[in-house]
């Protein structure tokens, strides 16, 4: 399975999700 291309901006993700009729999966991460 190909690795997903993660967006870094909520604004960009919302525009892309609207255009592609998808939802947004937001992952808050923390590099320890």
């Amino acid at each position: 399975m190909a690795k997903p291309k993660w967006e870094a901006s909520l604004t960009t993700a919302k525009a892309k999700a609207k255009k592609e009729k998808k939802l947004i999966l937001m992952d808050f991460y923390n590099k320890l």
Binding site: P4, A8, L10, K14, K16, A17, L23, I24, F28, N30
Partner: protein, 139 residues
């Protein structure tokens, strides 16, 4: 994942505006949003792949349910129950499947018959307890 979602990663230490907006206190926190940025589902912590996918499908179904797309919601919950019936997301999906069927049909028997499935398949689940009241529905 990209079939249904636009994946978005937010660095907990660098984007305090979003951390505060979504009240994130621990990582990883995974949140399912619609195009307006409204939240429909979240979970915290690392999960094995199958459980992770189960939570994603559940989130997809809950978003469709909340947006009153009941037929799409039913499809999501049924997919979860067929493909990932042993995951922790499954009892909640079973609960919402009955509710979505009721909302689509306005037939309260959907809630009662769903209770029987919950009690049989997931007897110790909180979702089985939450559906217990539907035993009072006549018929």
């Amino acid at each position: 994942m990209e079939k249904s979602f636009v994946p978005l990663q937010i660095d907990f230490n660098k984007n305090k505006a979003l951390v505060n907006r979504f009240s994130v206190k621990w990582t990883p926190t995974i949140i399912v949003l619609d195009v307006n940025g409204d939240e429909h589902h979240r979970f915290v912590g690392f999960l094995p792949p199958e459980d992770f996918i189960g939570q994603m499908v559940l989130g997809n179904g809950k978003a469709e349910f909340n947006l009153e797309h009941f037929e799409q919601a039913i499809q999501c919950f049924q997919e979860l129950l067929v493909r990932y019936p042993k995951t922790d997301a499954a009892p909640e999906a079973q609960y919402y499947l009955g509710v979505a069927k009721y909302k689509a049909s306005h037939d309260p028997k959907e809630l009662k018959s769903n209770l029987e499935i919950l009690q049989r398949e997931y007897p110790s689940s909180e979702w089985s307890k939450k559906a217990q009241v539907y035993a009072l529905i006549p018929g």
